[in-house]
């Protein structure tokens, strides 16, 4: 058949390029729109920088043993110098090292919390939105119950009940974070379900699984990605808040909220102790927010402020 030979006559690379040409074009256009806003680029830069620091940190921090709980009492409360760019804390540990390693904890918490919250939320929201009726009522009322309780209080209560550890903290935050996604996805799925291309797939005899996974979910990824990138900063902030009140990470884990909490009793004399973990936290949340705004402009131009 002529059509078959036309498809196979190309080399594999040329074929791959042809198959994805339109996709590249879409990305190129998306990146162009992203580039139009300087703030989005700053956000992307900050975010990439923090990820880079978190991933490579253990290879180049000056005092890796400090992050593991080493104590140098003789060097406690040194102000920032060349040897200790961010100074040292009450146990003589290098604050620069702790802040860098702390980025790993914060980012890990943010990523894992969002992954689990998005997974639970998308799954429940898709089921509720697609099947409707009683299933929808049960899932959405459960979601409403979670949303009526202030999330930070609930997270603190759950974390306190489970006992303080990084893992329990992630569990607690995930547990209060999914309802937002559930709501978002439920509304999106319920409206996409009425779209003509979904009707077309149903008329063609597509299974429910096929309709949900190839027709509905791919068309609602944009609002989910935008919400997740905006939420990332807040999830990290919540983790720090749990560390601050003592139901999150435990010492000697280098966690920003925990460090800030420990530093409370030493200000203003040893100002460098809370300032640097605080700045790191600020920079991270700021970066993710800018990135989220930029992504929203690219993926969801109608939702622009």
């Amino acid at each position: 058949m002529t059509a078959t030979s036309a498809v196979t006559s190309m080399g594999p690379l040329a074929h791959w390029r042809e198959r994805n040409q339109s996709r590249f074009e879409n990305w190129r256009r998306g990146f162009y729109r992203f580039r139009q806003s300087t703030l989005s680029l700053v956000g992307l830069g900050i975010t990439l920088f923090i990820f880079l620091v978190a991933v490579t940190g253990p290879l180049w921090v000056p005092y890796p043993e400090d992050a593991a709980g080493a104590v140098h009492v003789k060097e406690r409360f040194q102000p920032p110098t060349l040897a200790h760019p961010f100074g040292t804390d009450e146990l003589g540990r290098d604050i620069f090292t702790l802040v860098v390693i702390g980025a790993r904890v914060s980012l890990a918490v943010g990523v894992i919390v969002l992954l689990s919250a998005v997974t639970i939320g998308v799954l429940l929201g898709a089921i509720a939105g697609f099947f409707g009726g009683l299933v929808n009522e049960v899932i959405m009322r459960l979601t409403d119950i979670f949303l009526t309780v202030p999330s930070l209080i609930l997270a603190i209560a759950v974390a306190a009940a489970l006992g303080p550890s990084v893992l329990n903290m992630m569990l607690a935050i995930s547990l209060v974070w999914w309802p937002g996604y559930c709501r978002l996805v439920q509304a999106e799925v319920a409206s996409r379900k009425q779209d003509l291309y979904v009707q077309a797939a149903r008329a063609a005899g597509a299974s429910q699984r096929r309709i949900i996974f190839t027709h509905i979910l791919p068309n609602i990824t944009s609002p989910i990605i935008v919400k997740a990138s905006l939420d990332m900063g807040f999830a990290i902030l919540t983790a720090a808040a749990l560390g601050f009140v003592g139901v999150g990470a435990r010492p000697p884990t280098p966690e920003w909220g925990l460090m800030f909490s420990a530093a409370r009793s030493y200000v203003p004399q040893y100002w460098w102790y809370p300032i640097f973990p605080g700045l790191a936290l600020f920079l991270t949340v700021f970066g993710f927010n800018l990135l989220g705004d930029g992504l929203r402009d690219v993926l969801d131009p109608r939702a622009k402020r």
Binding site: T8, R19, Y197, G205, N219
Partner: protein, 274 residues
């Protein structure tokens, strides 16, 4: 004409009522009779027109035929079997023989899928074709509707309305169906493009021995393409006959009113000329 062809689709006393809810606790306070006891039959290889104004129930009939909507009562006999009584699996297989082209070519194609995946979807669902063989079949279909293999990996947003409607038609003929429901396939298009699409439909019908159920409110289009026409008003058929007889000797009052409202495509009759 030789002996009449057998009936492919018979619709008997089809009805779709929607409950109307309101007041306290959403009590049912009445029904909307979208389709109210409609009967008609379509012979193999013919084109049957369903004409009516907006809200007359013509699209609801199409949705009931495809079982996108459960009819309230009636029988739909397709290829000798009552679709409303078939078990789910059997119905799924029969669906391959009955396809639809929607009105709005901008909304009926999934924006996230390439042309190959859109046209290939019915094939993936109903046949074992995959990979290169699937691509080859999609290219074949693209060429049948006047597009080429260079569009295989494009996304819907890269096409014009007419091209998109061609993609919708390619998807509908992918499984070699017997019946195609055309739900106002040209009313969202420019007039010049409408003519191209109508010619394409005409050509495909002859080539693939298709049967059409053509839904429209455009009497000119109906006259061009259909052998028989039924006029529907408020969920009921008011007149059904051969196309020429409807246009030359209408019996129902409603038909006469509709025909009188038809614009005459002759500049000499134009009210804008003296």
């Amino acid at each position: 004409m030789s002996a009449p062809m057998p009936f492919l689709l018979q619709v008997e006393n089809l009805g779709k009522y929607y409950p109307l809810r309101g007041g306290f606790f959403n009590r049912p306070i009445g029904v909307i009779k979208a389709v109210d006891g409609v009967s008609f039959a379509i012979r193999e290889g013919s084109s049957f027109g369903l004409v009516g104004e907006s809200g007359s129930g013509k699209s609801t009939i199409a949705r009931c035929l495809l079982r996108l909507e459960e009819p309230s009562f009636g029988r739909i006999i397709f290829e000798g079997a009552d679709l409303l009584k078939l078990p789910a699996e059997e119905l799924r297989r029969r669906r391959a023989d009955m396809q639809i082209v929607f009105q709005d070519p901008f909304a009926s194609l999934n924006p996230r899928l390439t042309v190959r995946d859109i046209i290939g979807e019915p094939l993936v669902i109903h046949t074992p074709l995959r990979g290169e063989a699937l691509s080859a079949r999609v290219v074949e279909l693209l060429e049948m509707v006047g597009l080429g293999r260079q569009y295989l990996y494009r996304f819907p947003h890269e096409f014009s309305g007419g091209q998109r409607q061609r993609i919708g038609i390619a998807r509908a003929i992918a499984l070699n169906p017997k019946l195609i429901i055309l739900d106002e396939p040209t009313s969202a298009l420019d007039v010049s493009v409408q003519a191209q699409i109508l010619n394409l439909l005409d050509e495909l019908q002859r080539r693939l021995r298709l049967t059409y159920l053509f839904i429209s409110h455009d009497l000119g289009v109906i006259r061009y393409i259909c052998d028989r026409v039924a006029l529907i008003y408020r969920g009921k058929i008011v007149e059904e006959d051969e196309t020429e007889r409807i246009f030359t000797a209408p019996t129902a009052e409603y038909t006469r009113t509709l025909l009188a409202a038809m614009p005459i495509p002759d500049p000499d009759y134009s009210p804008y000329r003296s």
